[in-house]
Every structure is written in C-alpha cells, then in structure tokens.
C-alpha cells in the first residue's frame, strides 16, 4: 500500500470542491435549497398519514420520530450515491493531475453534512409546531452527526472505487440501499417487529448509527454509553475498512475512469 498522500496542501481545494457540489445541487432546482428542507417534511407528512392513520401504530409524536429518521437516511443514502459518482464525474482531473483521489468522496460527504444541517431547520420548526420542547440533549447532536458522517464516509470510500471498476455498482447499491432502508427503523418503531425479524434489524449497523442520531432529537436524552459505544465502534470499523479498500484501489482508479 502506498503511504498516504499529504492532504494538508489541498485543504483549500477540498473546500472548493464542497462549494461546487453545493452550488450544483442548489442550481439544479428552482426552489433551490428550500427544497432540501421541504422534501423531508413532505415525506414525513406522507408517512404520518400512511402510518398513523392507516397502520395505526402507537408512537408518541410520530412526526418528529419519522422526520429524525428521514433526515439521517437522506444524508446517508444521498452521500453514498454521490460518492459513487464523484470519481467518474471528475475523470478528466483524475487522469491528468496528481490530485489526491480521496478528496472527491470526502467532499461529497462534507457537503452532505452541510445539507443535513440545513435540513435540521424544519425539524426545529416542527418542535415548535408540535409543542415538543427542545431539550438540552440537542447539544449532543453534533457528536451524533460526526459519527454518522464517519460511517457514511467509510461506506463511500468502500463503494466509490467499485463504481469506477464496475459501472452497474450504482444500480446494485441502489437496490441494497432500498432493502437496508426497510431494515432500519426509520418510519416504524422497533416494537412492531415480529420476533423472527427483530434480530435482523437489531444487527443492522445503520440502526445503531440512527439510534445515536435519534436519541438527542426524539427521546431528548444523551445517548446511553451502550448505544454510543456500539455506534462509534461501527462507524470506526466502517471508516477503516473503507479507507483501506480505497487506498488499495487508488492507484488503479486513473486506469479505469
């Protein structure tokens, strides 16, 4: 494995890549960044109607429960999808300039975090609207977001070279993400799961990350040490596996993009 390329001289380039990513995303739709906030709200609304009116499971303040799940999932799945496109999309640069390739998936995850921060605004509005008082535990949220970002970056680093070598990775991962979404308690509570499915969801790594994200928002508590240690462990393992895979593949990337 090659020694890591020094990233420090490229920190301003990283910021520039993040800025460009955000600019492209917000230029594409006329509603601009308002859409980042509206989309999860609308999805939450639909879920609220479907699940509390039709399936009727008993979750107190379902809107906040669902929205916190959606925000996490959107961040995770969108960041992964754009990391997979980041190397191919920058092929002209990768094949001609000695830019550290890791910058591209890294920039997509950072811009994903920024989007997530914007998307938190309607969550706070929802707190006010539903009379759910904001708690001090929200101050813990930045730590939860960092854990989620580490986990997502790991997945992005693992998948982005794969998407260069095999063009159908994006489609395949799309299907896996869909399956994973249903195996993560985003819009249902763990309590409705039948015994025989419970363990699958229980051992889904994305669930432990979501838990630490939801604890301070919905349950109004700082995640207990059990949750926190599992999530941190999962995120670190994902990151290290992703980074190792990426560094092994990095030298081959310019030959295939």
């Amino acid at each position: 494995m090659p020694p890591p390329k020094p990233l420090l001289p490229y920190r301003d380039l990283l910021l520039e890549l993040v800025r460009r990513e955000l600019k492209v995303r917000y230029r594409r739709s006329t509603l601009g960044f308002l859409w980042t906030m509206l989309q999860p709200l609308l999805m939450m609304l639909v879920l609220s109607i479907v699940f509390s009116a039709i399936f009727r499971f008993d979750v107190e303040n379902y809107a906040v429960y669902a929205l916190s799940g959606i925000l996490f999932w959107n961040f995770f799945s969108q960041s992964i999808t754009s990391s997979m496109n980041s190397l191919r999309g920058n092929a002209p640069l990768l094949t001609k300039l000695p830019v550290p390739r890791v910058l591209f998936p890294l920039a997509t995850v950072i811009s994903g975090v920024i989007n997530l921060l914007f998307a938190l605004i309607p969550l706070f509005a929802l707190f006010a609207a539903t009379g759910h008082p904001p708690r001090w535990s929200l101050l813990f949220l930045p730590v939860s977001i960092l854990i989620a970002a580490l986990f997502t970056l790991g997945a992005g680093l693992f998948l982005s070279p794969l998407a260069v070598f095999f063009t159908d990775t994006v489609e395949l991962v799309g299907v896996v993400l869909m399956l994973l979404m249903y195996l993560t308690p985003i819009f249902y509570p763990m309590s409705i799961l039948p015994e025989r499915f419970y363990w699958i969801v229980r051992f889904n790594p994305a669930r432990s990350i979501l838990e630490v994200f939801r604890d301070p928002i919905y349950f109004g508590k700082i995640p207990p040490l059990t949750h926190l240690s599992v999530a941190l462990g999962v995120a670190l393992v994902a990151f290290l596996v992703g980074l190792t895979t990426f560094r092994r593949a990095a030298d081959k990337i310019p030959f295939y993009v």
Binding site: P2, P9, Y10, R11, D12, L13, E16, P92, L93, L94, T95, K96, L97, P98, V99, F165, F166, T167, D168, T169, L172, D251, P254, F255
Partner: protein, 253 residues
C-alpha cells in the same frame, strides 16, 4: 566530493495498460465472462524499461511519434499513474501542465479558473491571492479575465494555463504540448519565463512536435519509440537522427 542527488531518477520504468478484450465493465458482464472463462486481457506496454536521470536545472525535450509513450511518461512523472514496474524518484515540487485546459471549468470566468486551477495544483487560496494579479498580467488577458472561459480561444486557454503553472517556481516543470498553441509574441514570453525559471534552478521537461521549439529551448533530448527510450543525448544530435528516421518512414510509405 559531494554528488548532488538528481532532480529526476527513473529506473527501469514500465507501464502496462490492461485492456479487456471483451468489455466487462459491469458486475453482470464480469460474472458472465468469468463463468465462461473468457476474461481475456490485451496488455499494452506504453513504457518498457525506461531509465534516465535528469540533473537539477537541465532543460530536456521528449520527442517521438504519436503513441510513443511521451504523455504516459509525463503522467508517471507527475505521479498520476503508478508504474507497473520500476521506480521514479523526484526531489522537490512538480508543476505539471499536461493538456490544454485540464482543470478548467468552461462555465467559470478566467479569474475564477485561476483559483480553481492553482488549487488543483496544490496551492492554497492565500498563495493564489498573492499571485493572481501577476498571473493575469503575464497572460495578457486583462480584457477577458472576467468572462467565462468557454469564450476563449484555445491559444488563450493555453496562455492562462501556462501563466498559472509557472507563477510559482517549481523544482520540476512538466510541459506537454503547451508551447505549440500560443502566438509568436506569447511564445517569446514563454521562452523568457522558462529561462527565468531555469536561472532560478527549475528543471524543465517538455514534449513538443515542433523541432524548432526543441532546438531553441532544450539542451538534451530523449527519444521515445514504442515505449522504449531509443536515444538520449545532446539535442542537436538526437533531433537530427529522429528527423532522419521520420523522413525515412515518410518516404517508405
């Protein structure tokens, strides 16, 4: 006596492009070919066992026909491609200008592209702030600098690229086919700047198809043919042999 480490040391470098005979660029196709046992590669050696050293301050031209491996050599030297075999050691900083308009965004203005391009070369925003005026001055594009680069002619883009890459004194400057596109007055400015950089201690390595430019700007010449280094020596000598062989080939066609 202390001997100085060479600026560039290339030892037995080979580079293989592995081209799949059956295009298997998706999991599905890969699986099908793997089952049928029909995954066949065609190996193309773009560089075979190339070795040379370049001392600090030398100006070296790389010549050879299309597909001889010149651009691949530059990609190896700029650390974009890792050689399949062999070793490359370069001391100090490298500034590559590899292709016309690489790292330029056509929708951005010339000014914005100066920032983008310099950041891609590993400079910080502050370093660009300090040099941006002198870059514009040298490029001579004052009138157009705030309009999008898609309105520029290819010569103008090349001027801007050259101005950015040479705004900092690199230890090694790599120029791939850049000198051929500017007009005569800009070419003269380029030569002056290269001379300045050389006096400042930069080593310059360039590819061009223009024999006059090779003659005027290099002291030493590397001749690549089918990925092999066939000659390495004083420019006049290597260049005349190269031109002779090209003429010979042209006549026998």
């Amino acid at each position: 006596m202390k001997t100085e480490a060479p600026q560039v040391a290339v030892e037995g470098v080979s580079l293989r492009y592995r081209l799949a005979k059956q295009r298997a660029s998706s999991f599905k196709e890969y699986a099908i070919h793997w089952i049928k046992g029909s995954l066949i590669h065609v190996d193309l050696w773009a560089l075979s066992d190339v070795s040379f050293e370049i001392a600090r301050g030398e100006r070296v031209a790389v010549i050879g026909r299309n597909g001889a491996g010149k651009s691949t050599l530059f990609k190896v030297l700029s650390r974009v491609l890792k050689p399949t075999q062999g070793r490359v050691a370069i001391t100090g900083s490298v500034a590559p200008i590899l292709e016309l308009g690489t790292g330029f965004d056509p929708e951005l203005t010339g000014w914005e592209n100066i920032y983008l391009n310099a950041l891609l070369l590993g400079h910080s925003r502050r370093e660009v702030h300090e040099r941006v005026d002198s870059i514009v001055d040298f490029s001579g594009l004052h009138d157009l600098i705030h309009s999008p680069i898609r309105n520029y002619s290819s010569g103008m883009v090349a001027r801007l690229g050259f101005s950015i890459a040479t705004a900092w004194q690199p230890d090694l400057l790599l120029l791939d086919e850049v000198l051929g596109v500017g007009d005569v007055s800009f070419l003269r400015k380029c030569k002056e700047r290269l001379e300045q950089l050389r006096e400042g201690g930069s080593t310059v390595l360039f590819v061009t198809h223009d024999p006059a430019a090779v003659e005027a700007t290099s002291d030493r010449c590397l001749w690549l043919d089918h990925g092999r280094l066939v000659a390495d020596g004083p420019t006049g000598h290597v260049l005349s042999r190269y031109l002779e062989s090209s003429e010979h080939d042209a006549r026998s066609l």
